[in-house]
Symmetry: C2
Subunit: 346 residues, 2 copies
């Protein structure tokens, strides 16, 4: 367009064009000193006329701020990709609102990778996605001197800034919903055993929320870890129904298993929601893709991503932020849950 032959439009070009000093242009653009309205207009007009964009490297060098944050993805690939993708795009768009760009970092460079970014002043801060209970990235965070925000909770979050869905309340909300519908015998179909053994934060917290709420309502409740493959689900479900024939309500916190659960119930000739009400904790996409559509507490990818970036920006400005930010669960009632029938079947 209006760019110079070879190379970029520099702030000096703008200054010349507007007939002011370089520093004046800088102050107009940053707003760090008062500039008269007339001068400001003139400068801004020149900026537009020349199509000026500051040179990121020069800015970073002089200001000691790169205006870039890193989005650090974990190595393992067990998580739900659509949700992760929504996180990522939300992080990017939110960061842009704060005039920051996003550097995509995979954890496979390990600690050295993050250290490189820090030492090279490439980024001003980090957003770590999908943080696990025992996350290898967390220890290094402490001696890195880079502001960071974690999505998910590690075992010892003291001194860090963490954001996540409030899984405890999510568990409770599901139970509350079933209780309101008159269900007295319920179960939580949870993550695979290994997840509990790994001591993963969110699974435990959901379980606690479920158990506490059930106790509060005086319900007959139990927790079933559950594998994710069709066969494993089938076994778990039929064993559960055989053992607790009075069961009428099911909370499913295992998005991979959701489809198989419905298949199994169909195979066992149990109708949803006539014989059994289901509430799931899973991404909305999963909940509406199956038949019947599931009442569910969704994973608020957009909210979490937005919150994470906002918190990080606050930290970059030197403000203090809460260590834990738990986002309220929101229950969407759909076709899979209904009032318990007056007379118990079979």
């Amino acid at each position: 367009m209006t760019q110079r032959r070879h190379g970029l439009v520099t702030i000096a070009d703008v200054a010349r064009h507007a007939g002011v000093a370089v520093s004046t242009v800088s102050y107009v653009l940053s707003g760090k000193r008062t500039i008269s309205a007339t001068t400001r207009q003139r400068v801004l007009a020149s900026v537009r006329a020349l199509g000026y964009h500051p040179h990121a490297g020069a800015r970073a060098l002089a200001s000691k701020r790169a205006n870039v944050i890193a989005l650090v993805l974990p190595l393992r690939s067990g998580m739900h990709l659509p949700v992760l993708m929504r996180f990522a795009t939300t992080v990017v768009t939110t960061a842009r609102q704060y005039d920051h760009d996003v550097l995509l970092v995979t954890a496979d460079e390990g600690p050295a990778g993050l250290r490189r970014l820090a030492a090279g002043a490439m980024v001003d801060g980090l957003v770590l996605m999908d943080v696990e209970w025992q996350d290898p990235r967390v220890p290094m965070l402490r001696d890195l001197a880079l502001p960071s925000v974690l999505i998910g909770f590690p075992a010892s979050p003291a001194g860090l800034t963490c954001v996540d869905l409030d899984f405890y309340r999510a568990g409770s909300v599901c139970v509350d919903h079933l209780a309101q519908f008159g269900h007295r015998h319920i179960a939580l179909l949870g993550a695979p055993v290994v997840v509990y053994e790994r001591d993963t934060g969110y699974a435990r917290r959901t379980m606690a929320g479920f158990t506490d709420a059930a106790a509060r309502h005086g319900l007959d409740a139990g927790v079933e870890p559950c594998e994710e493959d069709a066969e494993g689900v089938r076994r778990t479900v039929s064993a559960l129904l055989a053992r607790r024939p009075a069961l009428t309500g099911l909370v499913v916190h295992n998005e991979a298993a959701v489809g198989h659960v419905l298949d199994s119930l169909r195979a066992l000739d149990r109708r949803v929601p006539r014989d059994l009400s289901i509430v799931a904790i899973c991404p909305d996409e999963v909940a509406v893709r199956v038949t019947p559509a599931l009442s569910s507490v969704l994973i608020p990818a957009e909210d979490v991503g937005h919150q994470a970036v906002t918190l990080l920006m606050r930290k970059l400005e030197g403000q203090r932020v809460p260590e834990a930010t738990l986002l309220d669960p929101h229950l969407a009632v759909r076709a899979s849950s209904a009032a318990v029938r007056a007379v118990a079947r079979r």
Copy 2:
């Protein structure tokens, strides 16, 4: 670690520590001038001792190379996320091998976003993922003066650098496979009608490959566009089977529909592969997740991502690269395809 109290370790620190000039350190690190072995060792030792990493901004400013490439994701969200994610991580790791980092850019800033990156010298080049037949990002690419590589083919790829699976050959390979198994009556179950209407490149090319190969083998072949929802698939499949009862081979190029296709066939009491052989063009994950596992041509996410970055790096070094890079399809034979039975059923 060994970093200075406040602020970074600079090249000057290294020079002082090693007892050489700043420029000498620079030349050791870049290799752009011959340096004696002894000096080099001394400098490298100092680099390690101090934990030196060059300041990215300063380097970008002085060298006019940011050592960062942008990964541009499209706005629409119709594509297969796991594959996209594998693309992305491959791009990141490959870029790292060339000492580059990756800036994540969503297309929702539009042309202005890319222009900003170019003008601000934030990135040295672009990788555009999931390029469509009529992609709004493509026109601007031409006057942007930034090296770029596209994943996928737009309508007019002249002057650009594009990488993708060779869908024409993918279509052919599927037909060849079925023909070898003796199938004479086959069909292509393709993308939804809108995709063909949108004139999307890959769908057309697959179709052409399918049709040409079928003609070459003298097969009875037809193409069926197919919606992605369960009901639409069911309709299409039963209509197809009713219309062409002799059909024994099916090529499915519609990853979202794959599961529904199998469901429909099951409902119609057609066994796979006994009554009907299926070959799919889809990500491996999709192919092995269903029962029976599908013979399939996979989308080589890793190869494509790797190729894209490699090509971009070659362009950054001023080398010429081919405009089109088509990756060979690879057929994985699994349970869903078999020799046609000697005597046709029903």
